[in-house]
């Protein structure tokens, strides 16, 4: 039985808490002189990136290397994919090379699911972002960061914490994965966006929705700003960038209405001046840089729990 991490929704609360507590131990590694553990010696992790990415790919690469795995980076540009090779043939190549885990980012929603369930590969598949669908490790690192700042009790529980996720929900895989995971962990999520940037069917998500940022953020414990994904937009979703910033951007004036303990998050890459102003991004309550550091620890935890033992300790069924 092979297991994968395809969706944040596949994780039970126990799974998610195991990943977060494992990440908490692995986070300490960053402070040691030798940032390396032998757990995945001799295992091969392939980073299969069909879409551009800086922080996610580097983060997965660092995570795998710190666990002593061999890492093969595979970017669509400059590979046979640009010559027209299909996902299936790429997958068969990886299988022939003996990959133990494939970390896949793809522009098409569902591509990691296809890879995991087609029978093409025997390796564990980790979704590193598929289209506008999901990005489960980002949600895990966000939850981990929140837990460190807002968590209560020995396990850093997020029960009852109010999280506002603001911006381009329609195109955001981060928003969907976060909504699912944070709900699993007991937090109350409110999505804030203009009506045009909510996906169809958002009513069925386990969240509140709002069009009014000023009404939501004074009650929030964490405010997560999302980038407006212009590259995925074909039509006019809002009149002008300036109007969007004024109604849905986080600026110094809005930041002043936050509670003292409230943290500001952003999955990156940020567009300063659009969804977030520079003074907010660089404020003390901004944990955006810490999110990146935590990303390595969380991805180490995921890789360790999927590959470290004889069978995975977490994740959805095949």
């Amino acid at each position: 039985m092979k297991r994968h991490l395809l969706s944040a929704g596949d994780l039970t609360r126990d799974d998610a808490e195991l990943i977060l507590s494992t990440a908490a131990e692995l986070r300490e590694l960053a402070d040691r002189p030798i940032k390396k553990l032998p757990a995945l010696r001799g295992r091969t992790v392939v980073n299969l990136f069909f879409e551009d990415s800086t922080r996610t790919r580097i983060s997965f690469e660092a995570a795998a290397k710190r666990l002593s795995a061999d890492v093969i980076n595979f970017a669509a540009k400059g590979s046979s994919l640009s010559k027209g090779e299909s996902l299936k043939d790429t997958a068969l190549t990886l299988e022939a090379m003996g990959a133990d885990a494939v970390v896949v980012r793809h522009g098409a929603s569902g591509a990691p699911h296809r890879l995991a369930n087609s029978g093409w590969v025997r390796s564990s598949v980790v979704n590193a972002g598929d289209g506008t669908h999901e990005h489960p490790t980002q949600a895990l690192l966000d939850a981990f960061t929140m837990s460190r700042h807002l968590g209560t009790g020995p396990k850093g529980s997020l029960d009852g914490r109010r999280i506002a996720i603001v911006g381009d929900v329609l195109h955001s895989r981060v928003a969907r994965s976060n909504a699912l995971l944070l709900h699993t962990l007991g937090a109350e999520v409110t999505l804030v966006a203009p009506p045009t940037l909510f996906p169809v069917g958002v009513e069925s998500w386990p969240v509140e929705i709002s069009y009014d940022l000023d009404a939501v953020i004074p009650k929030a414990d964490a405010v997560m700003m999302l980038r407006v994904q212009r590259e995925r937009m074909s039509g006019g979703f809002f009149p002008t960038a300036r109007e969007y910033s004024r109604r849905y951007g986080l600026d110094g004036r809005r930041m002043a209405t936050l509670q003292d303990h409230t943290i500001v998050m952003h999955p990156g890459p940020m567009v300063r001046g659009m969804e977030i102003t520079a003074d907010v991004a660089d404020a003390d309550r901004s944990v955006i840089v810490e999110q990146v550091t935590n990303g390595v620890a969380v991805r180490m935890a995921v890789l360790y729990l999927l590959l470290g033992g004889s069978e995975p300790a977490v994740g959805g069924e095949e």
Binding site: I34, A39, Y304, P312
Partner: protein, 204 residues
């Protein structure tokens, strides 16, 4: 009939074997207290004091043992000895043979271990594999001047050339028995018990 006698005694013995697993206490709370006090004194004697000592407990039960030993050293010498914990999960040689296990805390005292004498503390010394993993883990953290090993119980059956420097109690056991250490704080009471089939101690 003559062909069957071997089978006949089997059935009466397998009954009690399965049902009557016995559990006997070999160390009670005062025995454990005395053993730890002696270990604390032996550590001080061997190292000529508490200077440069670091106690690292191996989770779970090595950690409260290390804390208790440190408290006794502090009572005798007046010096506070740094105490930490060292999780060896990722260094185990059987990591690949079981489902991935949850990690336990590793807390290295802020003063570090470089150039110091590290005393590893664990509850039971058995195959020696945990200690081998601990030595590998230490290697990634720093370079101690010396590493010593203190255990509450040495039950024998070593599979690696490893021995303890300080032993609470040598406990000859059979491989079919299990030794269970309970410590207040982690468990309800202080006790060391042997669990095994009736008559198990005869084979020890």
């Amino acid at each position: 009939m003559p062909a069957h006698p071997q089978h006949v005694p089997d059935s009466p013995t397998s009954g009690p074997l399965a049902s009557a697993d016995i559990s006997r206490v070999v160390l009670d709370d005062s025995d454990i207290t005395r053993a730890l006090t002696r270990i604390a004194h032996e550590i001080l004697e061997r190292n000529k004091g508490a200077a440069d000592l670091v106690l690292l407990g191996i989770p779970t039960r090595g950690v409260p043992l290390a804390e208790r030993i440190a408290a006794r050293i502090a009572a005798v010498e007046g010096d506070d000895v740094p105490v930490g914990s060292l999780d060896v999960t990722m260094y185990r040689d059987d990591l690949r043979m079981k489902p991935a296990r949850a990690l336990l805390p590793t807390q290295i005292p802020a003063s570090g271990i470089d150039g110091r004498t590290v005393v590893l503390v664990d509850d039971v010394l058995f195959s020696g594999r945990t200690i081998r993993a601990a030595l590998d883990a230490l290697n990634d953290i720093g370079r101690p001047r010396a590493v010593q090993l203190a255990v509450l119980v040495d039950r024998g059956h070593r599979e690696l050339p490893i021995r303890a420097d300080f032993v609470g109690k040598n406990l000859p056991t059979s491989l079919v028995e299990t030794v269970k250490v309970s410590l207040a704080g982690v468990d309800e009471v202080d006790a060391v018990t042997i669990q095994g089939p009736a008559g198990g101690e005869v084979t020890a």
